[in-house]
Amino acid sequence: MASPPFSSCSVKDAKVLMVGAGGIGCELLKTLALSGFPDIHIIDMDTIEVSNLNRQFLFRQSHVGQSKAKVARDAVLKFRPHINITPYHANVKDPEFNVDFFKQFNVVLNGLDNLDARRHVNRLCLAANVPLVESGTTGFLGQVTVHVKGRTECYECQPKPAPKTYPVCTITSTPSKFVHCVVWAKDLLFAKLFGDKNQENDLNVRSSDGASSSENVEDVFERRKDEDIDQYGRKIFDHVFGYNIELALSNEETWKNRHRPKPIYSKDVLSDELAQQNGNLEKNNVCDDELSVSAMASLGMKNPQDIWSIRENSRIFLEALRLFFTKREKEIGNLGFDKDDQLAVEFVTSAANIRAASFGIPLHSLFEAKGIAGNIVHAVATTNAVIAGLIVIEAIKVLQNDIKNYRMTYCLEHPSRNMLLMPVEPFEPNKSCYVCSETPLSLEINTNRSKLKDFVEKIVKAKLGMNLPLIMCASNLLYEAGDVEDDMIAIYEANLEKVLAELPSPVTGGTMLTVEDMQQEFVCNINIKHREEFDEEKEPDGMVLSGWTQPVSAAENKDKSVGNGASPSDALVTAVESEKNDEITVVSTLKKRKLPEETDISCADAEAKHQKQLEVIDDEDDLVMLDGDLDSFKKRKLS
């Protein structure tokens, strides 16, 4: 290479947008500033938390609660005072960040923690024709990719891993893993007791024998006026861990080939010392600050790594429940699970453990349960630093328009062909990508039964990732979100409740719908095919979208990593923790394609076959997996 490829001339006029000021963001902002980038804009809606401080080195204890974007700016200006950093404490999906906003930048750099925002930024970059450098890390693994419209694949050309989902009955009736118990404790029990009472909840759908009417059951969770809190707690305990299990056991069919659960009643695990205990508890509980109310603290338990006995779990359960009703009564009815809410984590841990004990599943520590319940993705500073360095290297190539040297780079935990950092040539755009190639999609749906609302929620928002959609049938506007004239609001609201075939402009088999997101400047056409029946387990949405890159489930992925060389998803480096908490392994399957120099990829393929199954490394911080999942199972009914 003759000319110095990393000359500063391309950098000194550059204006860049960073999305995310978290783990990767802090490292990236520092490295950009040191590398001489003079004008950096940074968007992050988050505020600083204690668990960020181990790697987001621009933040200090005293910054907890403040805007990440703003604090990061101030910290970097201390060592590079003469550059411009413009912070936005806002959501990148806010309408102010439209295509025109994106157009002012030479390159956009993502340090995001969720799929939704990544897709949104991808579309805006495509619409504004601004190159995007995308990144992600988890533990020791990371990756950096370059997306340039028309030149390389876009972020959505490749299938993304589907969030892990669990069948409703596994959660409500037949858990076999600890995670099932955590989902039950968090999304059903916690939501039932402390969340929105009007939400549908599958907690009491236990068996198909209809032994009791749901009306009766509803009463159990309602705390009667002046009902003693300890008595109420034990009633809930006995109902969910005792009575419900007995009821489930009565359905013999379920247990033919399964381990039979054991009902657990409070009197069995706690005997009669309970009353005494509570007398002492009040004294210890001196702190009234809401988020510091803790059942562990009032019971004198300190180590979150300990695995509690069934008795300890039961005491934590009752104490946490009592504390919610006595110290945080005002919040009851509006609470959602939050991994940073100590009391909520304690409650969920204990409830999951008691249920696990019932079903003969090994118990776990609060630390582990918190990780599962909060979908906490492992994160260390070193990987983020490495990835940030690689992002800047790609950004400089993009500024120099050095297309032939763009690379997608994987940061590996275990070397592959002696490489810890493995560059690969970027892929070409996927010709059938519905995002960057305008290929129409097709949707099988029952047009006589499915409402427009279902289509908007399950397809337009959940699958197509649109933020403010507009739906047209030929030239007729059926629906529009966002700023709409008053007289139209009522019409759209009415349309949402109509089934497709009865809309003012009927949508039936053969109709083509146009769905557009004005903010993302993203349009796609969907050909509608009418279909009567759907399989409830396999097609829970009651509609099937095809022609787009379907998320790969873990099982499908496994098949692909062993030998299906033709799949476009082969180049994904994928990672997942294995069940037994041992080390993260990486599979890197590479399509037979030209690699830099004459490297031999056959050994990587061979290696891949020995290694464990993985998912794509995607998210840097808090992966929203179970939450995304919840929607689908909230809306489902058991037969």
Partner: protein
């Protein structure tokens, strides 16, 4: 004493992590476990030579929560020294008259109140064996080849195991050398736990491995770094004190070395040497990459978790590859 026994000894007092530590280190404990975190909090790390790459490394291990970090660099801060070092505010009234170690120390203390960061004064070659015995990890940079070898030998003389690392970045290239002496660790493969035993050569021994015995696709950066190192040593320059004016002398030295080592000159491209002499200052993205990899390796060595690299790591932003090479006598 073996490395393993040393670690057991460190665990012996059975201290638990405090609630404060658990909250702060939550995300990384999820990566390497509470045991590893405890070991980290008892480890003492020495770094010599405060350039951008070392600043990155220091940030990483202070965040990770090592017990203590001791910095040595008596050089007085100049504008040039600050170019890729985010630990020093570029305001003369702040940095004027202070040493690089003092300035970096002040910033690093802020990063994690649970880590003791301090400064020692002195020249690497003058520190006695006793001095090194205070540390579990020694990282050296920005010093002569002979100073590195000497420090490495002193670490090896101790009955206690001291992990030794040498690191350099020039232009958009970086190199890490690792010496863990005799390193035993266990890892899980499939369902079983297997014991591993890695034998590392000293820096001196690694560099004495004849070039012609190395495999054909050995990183070109390895040879290029040796040429520059030799040049600096022969000319009595300090590390990084080269410029484009030295190119012809460097190319001649390369030729001589290749002949002496019976290595085809094509393994040491002139263009690469030209880059390394033209721009001796560090390239910040490479500092981040090398400082990150080095941080990860030190964490592995202290915690006993994960496969440590043996025994060289090279990164060149030109091709983007981060390569491990094992350079030891057969």
């Amino acid at each position: 004493m073996s490395w393993n026994r040393l670690r057991l000894g460190m665990d012996g007092d059975g201290e638990e992590l405090t609630a404060q530590e658990t909250a702060l280190y939550d995300r990384q404990i999820r990566v390497w476990g509470a045991d590893a975190q405890r070991r980290l909090s008892k480890a003492h790390v020495l770094v010599y030579g405060m350039k951008g790459t070392v600043a990155e490394f220091c940030k990483n291990i202070v965040l990770a929560g090592v017990g203590s970090l001791t910095l040595v660099d008596d050089r007085v801060a100049t504008e040039e020294a600050l170019s890729s070092n985010f630990l020093i505010p570029p305001v003369e009234s702040v940095y004027g008259g202070k040493t690089l170690a003092e300035l970096c120390c002040n910033s690093l203390k802020d990063f994690n109140p649970m880590v003791r960061v301090s400064v020692e004064k002195g020249d690497l070659s003058n520190f006695g064996v006793e001095f090194f015995s205070k540390f579990d990890v020694v990282v050296v940079s920005c010093c002569s080849l002979s100073a590195k070898k000497l420090a490495n030998d002193k670490c090896r003389k101790l009955s206690k195991r001291v992990a030794f690392y040498a690191v350099e970045c020039r232009d958009s290239c970086g190199e890490v050398f690792v010496d863990l002496q005799d390193y035993k660790y266990s890892k899980k493969k499939q369902e079983e736990t297997i014991g591993c035993d890695l034998k590392y050569p000293s820096f001196e021994d690694a560099l004495s491995v004849p070039w012609r015995t190395l495999h054909k696709r050995m990183s070109k950066l390895y040879f290029a770094m040796r040429v520059i190192e030799k040049f600096e040593e022969a000319e009595g320059r300090s590390a990084g004190e080269v410029s484009i004016a030295d190119l012809s002398a460097v190319l001649k030295l390369k030729k001589d070395l290749c002949i002496a080592q019976s290595l085809s000159e094509s393994h040491v491209p002139d263009a690469l040497l030209e880059r390394l002499v033209t721009n001796a200052t560090e390239f910040p993205p490479v500092c981040a990459v090398i400082g990150g990899i080095l941080g990860q390796e030190v964490i592995k060595a202290i915690s006993g978790k994960g496969d440590p690299l043996k025994n060289f790591f090279f990164f060149d932003a030109f091709d983007g590859k981060g390569i491990i090479e094992d350079i030891s006598a057969k």
